[in-house]
Symmetry: C2
Amino acid sequence: MRKILLLCLLTAGLRATAQPVASPLTARLDKVSLTFALAADGQPTYAVSYGQRPVIKPSRLGVALADGKGFDGPLELVGSETKNVDETWQPVWGEVKSIRNHYQQLTVHLRQPQAPGRLIDVVFRVFADGVGFRYEWPSQPSLQYFTVQQERTEFNLTGNHKAFWIPGDYDSNEYAYTTSKLSEINSAGITPIQLKSAPERVQTPLMLKSDDGLYVNIHEAALVNYPAMMLNVDTKTFGLTSQLVPSATEAAAYLQTPEHTPWRTIVVADNAPAVLASKLILNLNEPTTLTETSWIKPQKFVGVWWEMHVNKSSWNYSDATNLKLADTNWDALKPHGHHGANTANVKRYIDFAAKYGLQSVLVEGWNVGWEDWSGNWKEEVFDFVTPYPDFNVQELQQYAAAKGIKLLMHHETSGSVTNYERRQDAALRFMKEHGYDGVKTGYVGRIIPRGEHHDGQWMVNHFNRTAENMARQQIMVDMHEAVRPTGLHRTYPNWLASEAARGNEFNAWSEGNPPEHETILPFTRLMGGPMDYTPGIFQIKLEDWNPAKNQGKQVHTTLAKQLALYVTMYSPLQMAADLPEAYEKHLDAFQFIRDVPVDWDDTRILTAEPGDYITMVRKAKSKEEWYLGAITDENARAQTLKLDFLTPGLRYEATIYADGKGASWNKNPMSYQIRKQKVDSKSVLKLQLAAGGGAAVSIKPINR
Amino acid sequence: MRKILLLCLLTAGLRATAQPVASPLTARLDKVSLTFALAADGQPTYAVSYGQRPVIKPSRLGVALADGKGFDGPLELVGSETKNVDETWQPVWGEVKSIRNHYQQLTVHLRQPQAPGRLIDVVFRVFADGVGFRYEWPSQPSLQYFTVQQERTEFNLTGNHKAFWIPGDYDSNEYAYTTSKLSEINSAGITPIQLKSAPERVQTPLMLKSDDGLYVNIHEAALVNYPAMMLNVDTKTFGLTSQLVPSATEAAAYLQTPEHTPWRTIVVADNAPAVLASKLILNLNEPTTLTETSWIKPQKFVGVWWEMHVNKSSWNYSDATNLKLADTNWDALKPHGHHGANTANVKRYIDFAAKYGLQSVLVEGWNVGWEDWSGNWKEEVFDFVTPYPDFNVQELQQYAAAKGIKLLMHHETSGSVTNYERRQDAALRFMKEHGYDGVKTGYVGRIIPRGEHHDGQWMVNHFNRTAENMARQQIMVDMHEAVRPTGLHRTYPNWLASEAARGNEFNAWSEGNPPEHETILPFTRLMGGPMDYTPGIFQIKLEDWNPAKNQGKQVHTTLAKQLALYVTMYSPLQMAADLPEAYEKHLDAFQFIRDVPVDWDDTRILTAEPGDYITMVRKAKSKEEWYLGAITDENARAQTLKLDFLTPGLRYEATIYADGKGASWNKNPMSYQIRKQKVDSKSVLKLQLAAGGGAAVSIKPINR
């Protein structure tokens, strides 16, 4: 003990006797500049500018502790350092082959002026496309174990920007986006999915556009051992204040020094494509510690899944209700006869995947417990190892292996995370024993431990621990109903994707996703990482599957737009979400899904405007092939695109999957046309996007 | 769905059309009678009498649900049944070889008069020594998943009884007992161990004595999937009301039909020994489902444990603080040199156990994490598999095995139960791989999941699940800081003991346990099951171990009383808690600990009065040997005991371990004398117990 105390006193001493530091302090890279200052009252503040234009006006920094002796009052500046970093790194998979990490770092050492004189640092990293900063607490005698009550970080915006927002529900982000002025933010009229939020609280990533054309995105990076940050909006002053998701005790985070918060991120650009191209959030995450990553395989999959959403089959095996996991004789249940995850049906999907070159088959509803799985806040719902009587694990293992197809496991937790945690080791052993190397997890419903939230510290730790546990077992994971990503797929490249937003599935059983939805997601949810959006619905009108139950239901899209999403919504794990029979009616269009890669050497954002349209082109990993996706909102649009990204001198054949004559998302969504065209780097491509439509283009070299 | 609904309607129909049932309803066995009645307002009530004497005056029954449509208002009586049961069963281990289960059962079917017309049953079992009753909820369409907000069970006592009570702390029962009139119950002046309680709330088992000489004990049996019950005391009317320990959400229990509460138990007798002899609570528990129990071994053990309490060594290995489990290089820590669980020291205990015929050695502090293990509400404290550098698992495994000694594992959770649950499978595998077949668990500190309590439903389920999980692995368990037992060792005979009360250890570092403490425990804590009290301290004055740190500390007992506790405090798992060097100074007295069994054919309570004295004699399992223990409170007492329990015609040698001349717990605690005496069934034994003293007697047949 003596030695440690001495060391800490020495450290404090060094800081106290360092050269007095004048405030303000600044850091800058290209057009982005950051200013740190102590306000007249001693309150630390920061501000961000882009060129001459302010982005964040002087805004307070602070963290309140539960013991009342936190960092939400005046602080003394006891030192600072800067450093410059310019490096490149290669992700295991992703949108580009190589990523530049170039920033200037400013570290500010602060101390409480009165006893106990606790220390806190704020570390800023200024990139060409924005700023990241976080709070850090060094080891110190007066701060070892501590509880964060709330964070007091402000983002004071410069005006009444246009905002793309969803309500600040602590347990769900599966909302359609509202586009409004900051002054109009109010979620009182929006039906809560899980938890009613304060009406002026929104989630991140929050996409903003100023009247003078600045695009600003506020989120966080590397959410580890801390709750997610939401934002309280002052609709009069346009100030945002951090709102940490509380734990069951209302306090936000239980910490131990040395510790730091996630990075608070502000991406800023004068054009929308630059926001989509930003790698700021990934750069602020830690590199993976995995040295062997060959088992991590970006992939496309089909699944026994959409057929349940369209009421052709069901997750549950019987019509029984009120069952108890341990007390039920599952073999004796009377089947209702339309259970999706039966051996014969799964074989049909395996056959399809094998025939058309997809890698894997997801099967939901394979394991017992689906009869009354949701909505009861029940601890023991699933055991993750017991199949329904009509799902033959061994037979399917052999069948899939013989055809070179992997089965994807499904672990729905029903929000009962304590149950999942105590069974997770056994569940992963079961997977390895039966040939599974990937799993989709789900967290539908209220969390157990009761009182905890999906986006609170305890669950954040669960998600990260699960990714880590699975990495140890060489298992890939796709998390549904998880906290929204913050770039942790850099650290855990086996965490291929998450849902954590309103996916395509909502079209099957709600008012659906408006045509603009997919033009907003890349600017919001996808800023943090890949989404398992489940594109590729070909049978757009859902009544055809079950006229009685699906009346009026459709996907709010044209068929061609569904193809374009494989390019515009990056994920290393992409589902071909529709049923095999839907694809077999349109094998010409399905060819694009067969061709499109899930891992890329390069990505270019050709045009983009949140809420309106996005056009991207990507180069396949280690191949001279390009894939282009263009989508629009409810408005038809023409796009004229220069193909100057192609390698000069090479000739290519473009296959264009476009909206057909008279196509529109609501009136004629299935109309599409496919044409081929020779192109080179000097070509100009004209695309006509229908209302709610899109286009997908594959561009492959000729004579190779 | 249709079929199930129909079935339920039929059931309801049957009940509704059954013969109208007149209230009151009664049940009786010997002197104990039970009356159920609907009060004028429709409220269900019950009353209990013993002979002509009322024990429980008409008292309300009820359970409030979170949805407001519970069972705390008027109910209709729709039917009833009675049955008589008289059977005997054999426990796997225990105080007696065979147990009679004799009761009359009255089942009362009740229904809400208004919609939704939910059903609830109350089942009473009337024994010769008291009453047990519980609420049961049958399967029914209008009640499947439900949340108990609070239970409204009353126990209206007949007068201002003497009570032996501890405060209603939801997280600890490690209190000294207060003896007072009901009207004087007030814990405001008692320092809370974990959680401040309402001043007039007490825990069960609550021991009561009426002015007219009735002994009444209120507790519960078979606490499964439900929170522990505490009691709110009305100090004016002498009414007790159930208080269920809340969950993190404040609601008490999350249930699913069919379900039932634990049994509420009222043991009643006109003499104190009959309370100690009662098997009512055990009888109300379910038989074990284990068919193979030969691996369950009642045993005596020593341990690297008391030496830490008396400041001779420590649990932790170094003086470092503020460590993190995953980030610490434990091998690189600088040892402080007085770590108890080092290989050489453990070998010393193994040698001692082997030399003197004890079965096992507990080692605490063997695993990393003890540097700052407690008090920080920290999730990742221990991993249960990583030894400190000076504890050689393999070497000790071989050493112990060669000497025929078992090592007992230690799993301190520090209250971080989510951490323990997710690591428990790996921890048990580690045990099996290294030859451990028994474990002492610990739950010091606030519970994680944060907001849950030691005695709430979630933790109750954890304790039971742990016992079950360990039974599957053929592992015996001794739980410290667990919820107090309710007879579940009948169901889980591998759950050998719990702490769940103020053990001998308090003498080492607090004001200690008053001499009366062990005369109360059998009437309170032990009513539910065996306690790992850790008797057998020979070095009574603790200053001798460490004069600086143990100033004034002593065990509040004489040495002879420590021996008597092996008889008066039944457990199949008994520690010889002192250090080997303490025993080696008094091997003549230690002979009693070597001899005394931990499993019995028979038990007789010769004399007893809570708070004053207890004398018991027990017959060894399958052997014609008897062991007698007599203890007293702070008052010296003479006991004249007829040995008429001995087999007539047989001759025995009694070895009497008595308080020595001038002995007293505070002035001369180490004075003891050992004498031998020939006895038979006509003998009378005179024992002189010193203040705070006791006597232990082994009685073995001659010429066998």
